[in-house]
């Protein structure tokens, strides 16, 4: 609330300053450019990036030029690889979605139950503190050895990567449920399981969602790294495959495409979050 009103006040101040400069007839060049740029900074940055890339591509020595394919070459590679990339996306999502959703379900459920069960809390939390910081990529070779199929192994490592941040955030949220809610629940005669489902779960959801954001980003890392190791399809596999054949336009196209997919998934999560947490003010 305060932040919003501060921002509004700041905007009003900015506007006022602009109005004054217009009124006093000052029309310096920087003011004009600044006014033109305002609100378009994001697009302009992309344009600058593309120009810079193009410049490197043009100016690179002949031996290195193949590493920096021109913008148009990449765009063409992206367009012509789209069917293959879509197929790869489908194959990647068959790993990502089950692994991530399992992690969401397990992370939230266990976070809430562990925090609200004293003996479980004492037993599990010390282990969690040791296990959670282990970089999840380190499990990949073991997961591949452990599970017979690549898909199963990948789902497992995606799950491990996403589970810990979701669990830890949910647990923090469940521990921070206002004591007033617990008092209300006791007065209303809610049973323990009802209290967990109808009070603790929604009350800790804002925390769970921040864990789910971190977890989703980690899922993509786990997925692509796993695919670099030994997939025969998927986004990570696409990039690895064309790098092996030195087809750098396609490889860069794969990286850019993966960026868009990741961005899209994060946006989707953000929308779901805003819809579910409509009551958070």
């Amino acid at each position: 609330m305060d932040r919003v009103s501060d921002a509004a006040a700041g905007a009003a101040l900015e506007k006022g300053r602009k109005d004054v400069s217009v009124a006093s007839g000052k029309r310096n060049v920087t003011g004009g450019i600044a006014g033109f740029i305002r609100g378009k900074e994001g697009i302009i940055f992309f344009i600058i990036l593309i120009i810079a890339w193009q410049a490197v591509s043009e100016l690179a020595s002949v031996q290195k030029r193949f590493l920096f394919p021109s913008f148009l070459t990449i765009a063409h590679a992206l367009y012509s690889s789209l069917p293959e990339l879509l197929k790869g996306t489908y194959s990647s999502f068959l790993i990502l979605v089950p692994g991530y959703l399992l992690a969401v379900a397990a992370g939230i459920t266990s976070g809430i139950i562990v925090v609200n069960t004293p003996w479980l809390n004492r037993a599990f939390m010390p282990f969690a503190r040791v296990a959670a910081p282990i970089p999840p990529t380190i499990y990949i070779p073991y997961a591949i050895a452990l599970l017979s199929t690549f898909r199963g192994a990948s789902i497992l490592v995606v799950f491990i990567g996403a589970y810990w941040p979701i669990f830890l955030n949910t647990a923090a949220g469940a521990a921070a449920v206002p004591s007033q809610y617990r008092d209300d629940a006791r007065i209303l005669g809610l049973s323990h399981s009802e209290y967990l489902r109808r009070v603790v779960l929604p009350a800790s959801l804002p925390h769970s969602f921040s864990g789910m954001g971190v977890g989703l980003a980690l899922s993509f890392i786990m997925l692509t790294v796993a695919e670099l190791f030994g997939a025969n399809a998927g986004l990570g596999r696409f990039v690895q495959y064309y790098a092996d054949y030195a087809d750098y336009p396609r490889m860069v196209a794969g990286i850019i495409y993966t960026g868009f997919i990741t961005f899209g998934a994060m946006e989707l999560l953000e929308r779901i979050k805003r819809r579910i947490l409509f009551w958070v003010r």
């Binding site: 206002p178 007033q180 008092d183 006791r186 209303l188 005669g189 929604p202 009350a203 009551w279």
Partner: protein, 280 residues
């Protein structure tokens, strides 16, 4: 119910027997003896630090006395129960539920056998009682503070508890809403059938005088009862003329005297400690 109590020899009402309560080795309540009759409206008046909230939490079963015991209809209280509804000072409806769903949470305790639709009809009746019938489908963040507190009261009324424990429920409200809710509460209490017993905590002398059948004044550090003043004025009490009544002014003087003597005592004891250099 009164008949069966008579036959079984049970004493109805709340009975607090030499209850003390300590928290972190500091005494909060000291040797409280108090009886709350069934159907009575009792106001607990005291300055901050007099343990009035603690006493209410003990009655609710949210805390257990360090010594002494509390009986409800001759049975010792050992935890919260839906026979005692409590409204807290910092009212909080669950923000992820509509007003109706919040009320339904209470209704499903006592009327769990009803279908959801039927329970919602009941919920709407309680919301009508507090003048919130049009807000049934709104979420707490869409309501003003006064409306939220009315919702919290409706939720506790919907629990159907014969005992209502209210901890400065109108403390955070503006004067207009405060008066409205006082009248609403008195109206509900007077028309309740079967009768409801109310224990109402406040630090406002006039609120205690207007609402109570009896005002119990608590002194501070540690909390103890320093006076019990019956308010022997008939009901319904008309707010417009109530405070110009001579009798009520006498009662107010008595209460204020007790209230102030405790405050002065506190100040003097603080000075004494300071004189010995122990407070430094």
């Amino acid at each position: 119910m009164a008949g069966s109590d008579f036959h079984s020899g049970k004493r109805s009402g709340l009975r607090i027997e030499s209850v003390s309560f300590a928290y972190n080795h500091s005494r909060v309540l000291c040797d409280i003896d108090l009886e709350v009759r069934q159907g009575e409206f009792l106001t607990l008046l005291g300055p901050s630090g007099s343990g009035k909230t603690t006493l209410l939490r003990l009655l609710a079963g949210m805390e257990i006395p360090s010594s002494g015991r509390i009986l409800l209809n001759s049975v010792q209280i050992d935890g919260p129960g839906t026979d005692r509804g409590m409204v807290f000072q910092s009212y909080m409806l669950f923000p992820w539920m509509t007003l109706q769903e919040n009320i339904d949470l209470a209704i499903s305790r006592t009327n769990g056998h009803l279908k959801k639709k039927e329970r919602y009809v009941l919920a709407d009746e309680y919301l009508t009682l507090v003048g919130l019938q049009r807000a049934a489908r709104l979420y707490p963040f869409e309501l003003s503070g006064g409306m939220q507190q009315r919702g919290a009261i409706a939720r506790i009324l919907a629990l159907g508890s014969p005992y209502l424990l209210m901890d400065e429920p109108f403390g955070a409200l503006d004067p207009v809403n405060r008066v409205r809710l006082q009248d609403l509460l008195i109206g509900v209490w007077e028309h309740a059938s079967p009768a409801r017993t109310v224990v109402f905590v406040t630090h406002d002398v006039d609120e205690a005088l207007y609402l109570g059948d009896r005002v119990v004044v608590l002194g501070s550090t540690p909390g103890r009862i320093i006076a019990e003043v019956p308010i022997d004025l008939p009901r319904p009490r008309a707010r417009q003329t109530y405070f110009s009544n001579r009798r009520i002014n006498e009662l107010r003087n008595v209460i204020v005297e007790h209230y102030q003597s405790d405050v002065i005592e506190q100040l003097e004891s603080a000075e004494r400690i300071g004189g010995n250099g122990q407070g430094i």
